[in-house]
């Protein structure tokens, strides 16, 4: 295994300039659960590694009624899964985080890492899509904020530029009469990647859907929102026929591939099944 230089900056500015100085040769180390595996397998061959672990304030979880949920990019998956605020108000995100690896992995893996690897199957991303997360990104050139929906470009590719660091995620406050859920289709109970991941958030008012968001993982080149299905549901009650229509529209909007886990046809059909199930479970939580 190739050796590398390790930098442990204590500020974002320092980290960003180290990444810039080292051109395309530096890699960010967050939790390391993907980077170290890639490095051991010879897929990642960093010459310089910039660890974000010594920068304070990047691993906090805060909730404010007016501004919503704010999570530092270096927050561990296990902390997200165990946060009572996230479990109560952003349930699908806690469920997504709890699906990553094992407890040992979740004590290392970070939310920022799960997002920035840009895997179409990332367990937290379907939930972050339905909660309308905004990513706060810092670099030596300043800061920018973008919706997570615009962040992903393709499998393993995001719009993150060299020298940029995802410092925080902010999700807007949750309405009272809403519920959310994430379902991961998998073979093993733990330590498995999603065949299909579906997250939903449902807000009901007087028995009809006031708002709904559906996020799909592992069924397109990037995690996506099933907007056609959302539009079918809005303004309607959750009747069997409306649910069926919406679920089919979600399947229609997916563009899965066949791989060693399962076939494209299976994935598409399971999007239909799981979308319906996820919406029903979200509504049952209200």
């Amino acid at each position: 295994m190739r050796d590398f230089a390790l930098f442990e900056p204590t500020t974002i500015e320092e980290a960003s300039s180290l990444l810039a100085e080292n051109g395309g040769k530096a890699t960010i180390l967050a939790g390391g659960t993907d980077l170290l595996v890639g490095w051991k397998e010879g897929i990642a061959t960093p010459k310089s590694v910039v660890s974000l672990a010594q920068i304070s304030g990047l691993d906090s979880i805060a909730y404010d009624e007016n501004t919503g949920l704010s999570i530092g990019g270096m927050t561990k998956m296990r902390a997200i899964e165990q946060s009572s605020t996230i479990r109560n108000r952003y349930t699908a995100l806690a469920e997504g985080a709890s699906e990553v690896g094992s407890i040992q992995i979740r004590n290392l893996a970070t939310l920022g890492g799960n997002i920035c690897n840009a895997s179409p199957a990332a367990d937290t991303v379907a939930a972050l899509l339905v909660f309308g997360a905004q990513l706060e990104i810092a670099s030596t050139y300043g800061e920018r904020t973008i919706p997570i929906r615009d962040f992903f470009v393709g499998p393993g590719e995001s719009s993150l530029q060299h020298g940029e660091i995802v410092t925080r995620l902010v999700c807007p406050p949750r309405p009272d009469n809403s519920g959310s859920h994430y379902i991961k289709q998998k073979i093993r109970e733990v330590m498995d990647l999603a065949f299909i991941g579906v997250a939903a958030s449902v807000e009901l008012a007087h028995g009809v859907v006031a708002d709904v968001k559906i996020g799909l993982a592992a069924v397109a080149p990037t995690p996506i929102r099933a907007t056609d299905a959302e539009n079918i549901l809005k303004g309607n009650s959750l009747s069997e026929s409306i649910l069926e229509q919406a679920a089919s529209a979600a399947a229609e909007q997916s563009s899965p591939i066949s791989d060693l886990r399962c076939s494209a046809e299976y994935r598409e059909d399971m999007v239909r099944v799981l979308t319906k199930r996820t919406i029903q479970a979200s509504a049952a939580r209200i």
Partner: protein, 162 residues
Amino acid sequence: MKKHLVSFTVNNDQYDLLVEPRKTLLAVLRDSIGLTGTKEGCSTGDCGACTVTVDGKSVTSCLMLAASANGKAIKTIEGLSSGSSLHPLQHAFIDKGGYQCGFCTPGFIMASKAFLEENPNATEAEVRHALGGNICRCTGYTKIIEAVMSAAELMRSARQAR
């Protein structure tokens, strides 16, 4: 490559070491400090044989750089017993036969310790789920789970006695 000065405690002993950036915590525990109770199985975080606790939380030490452990308190299987008195988990693994070849045992015990300290009243289903990141190649899961459930009981009564 420039070595990093890393200071941490392992089983309450202080260590100040110069380590190469590429050394994992697992490599330093085994090769530099000589604590070979912690095992290397897959080395990609899948098998859990390298589980230790860092500030009380279980981690796969094969996926953590030793440099990242600076300032932390690490506990390995060697630090569980106090003198000749075994930890309840060690007792239970012996009593219930919770091992065959023994290679996965330190990882199972360290993962169980961290989980039971957080969840002293865990059900068997919860324990099985929590140990999903540990693999036993001898397929001895039934006895392992029996051992952990029995240790949980021992740990609860020890807590009450205090």
